[in-house]
């Protein structure tokens, strides 16, 4: 799941001027104070301070796989404002600004810590000490007080709905009783369709925001559009002119970010702005009212994210997710096209001032000392784990939660550093006021299965399993299917994490983790595959699959990659849960999770054979070879630098017929009791209407369970809205029972998260029908809005 851009030139950002309000000067002097205070802070044991408190949770990588038969050890960590002790000046900074600290319940952390955690602790303090010496502390600081956030309701102000990313709408105009009457209110077409050059490469995956009376969205090639929320009429558009060769794995823009500058004057340009990350790795900000680029942001509205990354290779480093916005800082990672080479762009995570576009901080896990831009001629550490999905901001705690992937060579880890093994496939919490990790939680050790965390985490006040009250927590879904509930201040799991034995074998048995964590709260994962699960249309192709099954290496989940024989990876790299994420109804106490139930059939290719086959990484390919349909991710990926390339048969498809070897259902949707993790209902999602052998639609309306990508929205009215499956339907389910109450046929694939909003008294459901090359659904450029029919003479009444 991966010609320098036309517009972008330099990466220099304008020097900060003093043209803003006095708070800025205060911030500046406070930052200076902070810089001066760092050496004394480093002398401490590192368990607190403005540099952030690391709390390593779960053993780092393969380094100490056997050390904890139980679960992840954790050291409670918090970020600066809560640190009661110490003469750190970061509290001084926050004290000057006003006390955010009182708001946050400071969980205190003992200075002593478990061995695993102290390993990361040591890293941090070493970093701090040399910080001031090595590079200048960034001139920009996050606001230390939580900013007022727009909430979900009439609006849908964030990609995940509210600031908590619950994908929940408090609207209840549409209910079980009337949802059957939903009709199309309007439709809009962005006009961004593939050309001959980009045929087979589109996967828009877009979700629109709604703020005020407007909708804001981005198209597959990053064209920004604003629509009237009631009529769907286009208000403005802005085309950043992204070159087609910037497409990595697919042309995707999952959404945009809406930012209101609290210090802007009324009517000032870009007081409210729309920000997106582009395929050619720029951060672009335009005025929300006019679509004009924001002059004061970066260079005429654009910040070049290639800065510090290294050689510009279009299509290798792209942003496909909306940046998170926390305390006035935009946080973004990027998608590094999978499987190309060890020497690939860095997975560095960076925070930028949302007003000026200046770099506030950088988190390079391979080089924790580097907190700003790298020195001339150097880059951030290449090939490290990246974050391609959407992060979640925690405005109150000042943290941002980053679901990380694994290193650039996915299926062989012999070249990874200890830091990579520590952080790969982990959820990392970064303190946006400092740019330092606060804690991290690893879900796969020594990940050689491309099990990167693809789901955005959801924030929730979770009923404390130990007693009364609630705990500020987050829900972390994963591709292996495990769903974790973590305390989001400390990273500690609220339910025990069990260790399961991992099979050992393959090409690097000595490196593999002996055990892997699994969540006792809930997993979407099903039982391991058996020969009986093989499928087909006739006994003949079923026999073919059974022969493949017998011949392959398979010992359940985490079967190690092998070169001598193919191996079965189940769940495959599409989950479990993927970028669609989960939705939660906090009032009914239900999590809704749609998931894939599909194996991949893989094999490592030794380097000599890969060379014979001509597998070359993206920076060595001739440009002509880029045109034409993009292969599925992993199919013949070179993994240059590693002794093996990789071939992934995604979905384990039989050649010639295209039928998957595993029997249906290949995807499902499930309701989970929030407090206990028990399954409430579970059923396949997706009908067979579009699928059949040789790609011929069977028109069978029967629910079969298809692969799905995209998530759901749940509403107070008791409805689950979801498209996602490969049958091109948008549907409404009863959240209590899963019963399908309504559906409609979309003109293209519905692989996107819906939006629910209210305008002029009417509740709308908005879904992109954009299609998806990997999911093999028809491509389109529609956004389609549904609503209950207007009552005559009463339009506009709430």
């Amino acid at each position: 799941m991966m010609a320098a851009s036309a517009a972008c030139s330099m990466s220099k950002v304008p020097a900060m001027t003093a043209s803003r309000l006095p708070t800025t000067r205060l911030l500046l002097s406070a930052s200076l104070a902070l810089v001066l205070a760092i050496p004394p802070a480093a002398a401490q044991d590192g368990s607190g301070s403005g540099a952030g408190t690391p709390a390593g949770v779960a053993q780092p990588g393969a380094a100490s796989p056997d050390s904890a038969p139980t679960n992840s050890e954790s050291q409670a960590g918090t970020q600066a404002p809560e640190q009661p002790e110490g003469e750190m000046d970061s509290p001084a900074q926050t004290a000057t600004e006003g006390e955010a600290s009182s708001a946050e319940s400071a969980t205190d952390e003992p200075a002593g810590s478990s061995p695993a955690a102290s390993a990361s602790t040591v890293d941090q303090s070493a970093g701090e000490g040399t910080d001031a010496a090595q590079d200048s502390s960034p001139a920009v600081q996050a606001v230390s007080e939580p900013q007022p956030q727009r909430d979900v309701g009439a609006d849908w102000p964030h990609w995940g709905g509210g600031p908590d990313a619950q994908r929940y709408s408090p609207l209840d105009g549409i209910t079980r009783d009337n949802v059957g009457e939903l009709t199309k209110a309007w439709e809009y077409r962005t006009g961004d369709m593939p050309t001959e050059e980009t045929e087979g490469k589109y996967s828009p995956e877009g979700t629109a925001l709604k703020v005020g009376h407007s909708l804001y969205l981005c198209s597959a090639m990053n064209i920004l559009v604003a629509l009237d929320a009631e009529t769907g009429v286009e208000l403005w558009r802005y085309d950043p002119k992204v070159s087609p060769d910037a497409i990595p794995y697919g042309a995707t823009c999952r959404g945009v970010t809406y930012f209101e500058n609290p210090e802007a004057e009324e009517g000032e340009a870009c007081a409210a702005r729309i920000i997106e990350g582009t395929l050619d790795a720029r951060l672009i900000a335009v005025d929300a009212k006019t679509g004009e680029p924001c002059e004061d942001f970066g260079e005429n509205g654009a910040v070049d994210l290639w800065n510090g990354i290294g050689e510009r290779v279009p299509g290798w480093y792209s942003v496909t997710a909306p940046p998170a916005l926390v305390r006035g800082i935009l946080v973004t990672g990027a998608q590094v096209k999978d499987g190309q080479a060890e020497d690939a762009p860095s997975g560095v995570i960076r925070g930028y001032d949302a007003v000026t576009g200046q770099l506030a901080w950088a988190w390079d896990l391979g080089n924790p000392d580097l907190t700003g831009a790298p020195p001339e001629g150097e880059t951030y550490t290449r090939g490290t784990p990246n974050m391609w999905t959407t992060a979640t901001g925690d405005e109150e705690l000042g943290l941002v939660y980053l679901p990380m992937g694994n290193s650039s060579v996915d299926y062989w880890g012999g070249g990874r550093s200890e830091a990579e093994n520590d952080y790969s496939t982990s959820l990392v919490a970064i303190d946006v006021t400092t740019g330092e990790p606060a804690w991290h939680f690893q879900t796969v050790r020594y990940d050689v299965w491309d099990y990167d965390l693809g789901s955005q985490v959801t924030l929730i006040d979770f009923p404390d399993p130990k007693g009364e009250g609630t705990v500020p927590a987050l829900i972390l879904p994963s591709k292996q299917g495990d769903i974790y509930i973590l305390n989001r201040e400390t990273g500690e799991p609220l339910f025990p994490v069990e260790e399961i034995r991992a099979p050992i074998g393959g090409v690097e048995p000595q490196n593999l983790a002996r055990t892997q964590p699994t969540s006792t709260y809930h997993t979407l994962r099903k039982d391991r595959l058996t020969a009986k699960d093989m499928w087909g249309v006739t006994p003949l192709d079923q026999l073919f699959c059974r022969i493949q099954f017998q011949r392959a290496n398979y010992d359940g989940i985490f079967t190690p990659p092998s070169a001598d024989k193919p191996w079965i990876q189940y769940p495959g790299y599409n989950g479990g849960s993927d970028w669609g994420s989960i939705a939660v109804d906090p009032e009914r106490g239900l999590i809704i999770a749609n998931y894939n139930d599909v194996p991949n059939f893989n094999q490592l290719i030794p380097r000599e054979k890969a060379d014979e086959m001509g597998l070359k990484p993206i920076n060595e390919k001739a440009p002509e070879s880029e045109s034409g349909e993009n292969a599925a991710e992993g199919a013949g990926d070179p993994q240059a630098g590693a002794p093996y390339a990789i071939d992934v048969n995604a979905g384990w498809r039989v050649p010639f017929t295209g039928i998957p070897c595993k029997q249906p259902p290949l995807g499902g949707i499930r309701a989970i009791d929030l407090a206990t993790g028990e399954t409430v209902w579970d059923q396949p999602i997706g009908t067979a209407r579009r699928n059949g052998p040789f790609g011929i639609p069977s028109f069978l309306p029967k629910r079969i369970g298809t692969p799905n990508n995209g998530g759901s929205v749940v509403t107070k009215g008791g409805i689950v809205f979801i498209a996602a499956a490969t049958d091109n339907l948008i549907r409404a389910l009863d959240i209590e029972t899963g019963e399908e109450l309504w559906s409609d046929v979309l003109p293209a694939g519905g692989q996107a998260n819906p939006t629910v909003y209210e305008e002029n008294g009417r509740e709308y459901l908005l879904i992109q029908a954009g299609g998806h090359h990997f999911m093999e659904t028809p491509i389109g450029d529609w956004y389609i809005a549904y609503a209950l029919p207007e009552v005559e003479g009463e339009a506009g009444n709430p």
Binding site: K532, V537, T538, P539, L540, L543, R546, I547
Partner: protein, 121 residues
């Protein structure tokens, strides 16, 4: 006399239809038998080799316009149904590869019955 074929079998539509069904049975039967033997060698299910054998035998009997084709295939088909339910029970999607094509073939063979009956063999 030692003819291997009844005198006077008309080479009409029914005859050629039977040949076609025979070819179909052979086209499925040979690879299922061959692959099925390989599967046994790999440690997998015995069903396919046995069913493939039944299909090939049916095909041969059909080529010979013999009524035994019906009985051979009936045996194969019943065995298939028992095996299919033993493997996956009432999971209808899982039953598609196990039962649909064999049932279709059964119907085809039923349509050859008139030709098989008149051949007297």
């Amino acid at each position: 006399m030692s003819e291997t074929r009844s005198v006077g079998t008309p080479r009409d539509g029914a005859f050629f239809w039977t040949m076609l069904v025979a070819l179909l049975a052979l086209a499925f039967g040979l690879p299922i038998l061959g692959g099925g033997v390989y599967l046994i060698w790999l440690g997998g299910s015995w069903y396919y080799a046995i069913a493939g054998f039944g299909l090939v035998a049916t095909a041969i009997a059909l080529f010979a316009q013999s009524m035994s084709a019906f009985w051979l295939y009936l045996l194969t088909y019943i065995g298939t149904v028992i095996w299919a339910f033993w493997e996956v029970g009432f999971d209808w999607w899982a039953q598609v590869p196990r039962l649909v094509a064999p049932t279709v073939l059964f119907i085809f063979i039923l349509t050859t019955l008139p030709a098989l009956a008149r051949s007297g063999r």
